[in-house]
């Protein structure tokens, strides 16, 4: 028993947990996705891989999975126990086109997304924002503030061509309270969208 638990240093979920929710943090390389996940997660972020199974899967044979043309993508995740019955998984995912299959295979049913941006490389988030909009996946945009001169949020909103209703906030991905505020912003946004849909 001890040897088994030593392989699992992280806290297991409570036995009462029955439902898992997802939020995806999406952004370019080095923007701080894993940092953000780690800042709020109750476990040290874990990393795993997924194989692209959708493109070509219908026409291809079953042996393909172990062949050289297999495409795998690594991603990180952490979790937050919400209450007695629910746990929230936070995924960090690259935003570029070739990683988007993850949304169909893994992130379907997500509550929403956080687009994490670095103002020095705003263009890294263009594609992710386009895709989220076209999927009607609700999202907020969080600007990870790095050192040095920074453009205002108004300028960022303009550069990203964000509609006024899309929340845009500053954050520091290293700080738990700051990341927590980003996630709360997303949940408030979802609540607002729900209100609108019932209006």
């Amino acid at each position: 028993m001890d040897s088994k638990s030593s392989e699992l240093p992280d806290t297991p979920l409570d036995k009462t947990i029955k439902d898992a929710l997802k939020i995806v943090v999406v952004g370019g390389f080095g923007v701080g996705k894993t940092t953000m996940v780690g800042a709020v997660s109750e476990i040290k972020p874990l990393s795993t891989e997924e194989i692209m199974t959708q493109a070509g899967a219908a026409v291809d044979d079953r042996s393909r999975v172990a062949q050289k043309n297999t495409t795998t993508v690594a991603f990180d995740f952490g979790r937050i126990t919400v209450d007695r019955n629910k746990v929230l998984y936070l995924f960090g995912a690259p935003g570029q086109e070739r990683f988007w299959f993850l949304w169909d295979q893994l992130f379907a049913g997500s509550l929403g997304a956080v687009v994490l941006v670095d103002t020095r490389r705003l263009e890294d988030s263009f594609y992710a924002i386009d895709r989220l909009e076209s999927r009607h996946m609700p999202f907020v945009v969080a600007v990870n503030r790095f050192d040095g001169p920074q453009p205002s949020l108004d300028r960022v909103r303009e550069a990203l061509a964000l509609p006024p209703e899309t929340p845009l906030i500053d954050c520091d991905a290293r700080r738990r309270d700051s990341c927590k505020a980003v996630l709360i912003e997303l949940v408030m946004h979802l609540t607002h969208l729900l209100d609108l849909s019932h209006a």
Partner: protein, 119 residues
């Protein structure tokens, strides 16, 4: 890029583990389906099946199993399908899986908000 890491690791492991199957899309498992072992590991079982049973005494999400087995999520879903068919695990699928494109309900959002505020 990641393509190489799989090959460096062990080119045949993935194929061996899942017996050449790649049809995880039909496994019915979500990335965050919660798995609980219902039977003790028994002799003669495939090593990955044993490991899964050993780590799932409490609810464990598919992605966590994948991370700990160092296998892709797709492969783990196939392994879990075997265990489910044998009655060795039970599974709670996420309620969002029923209607993945719908907004979550108000109660869920309230619970998440309260959970986040407690962080």
């Amino acid at each position: 890029m990641n393509r190489r890491s799989l090959h460096r690791e062990d080119p045949d492991r993935l194929y061996t583990v899942i017996g050449g199957r790649s049809n995880a899309g039909e496994s019915g498992f979500d990335a965050v389906s919660l798995v609980v072992a219902e039977s003790a590991p028994a002799s003669g079982m495939q090593s990955e099946h044993l490991q899964i049973l050993a780590m799932c005494s409490n609810p464990t999400a598919v992605v966590e199993i994948a991370a700990r087995l160092a296998l892709p999520v797709t492969a783990v879903k196939i392994l879990l399908r075997d265990l489910l068919d044998q009655g060795r695990i039970t599974v709670d699928h996420p309620t969002s899986a029923a209607a993945p494109t719908r907004l979550p309900d108000r109660d869920t959002l309230k619970q998440v908000l309260l959970g986040l505020q407690k962080l």
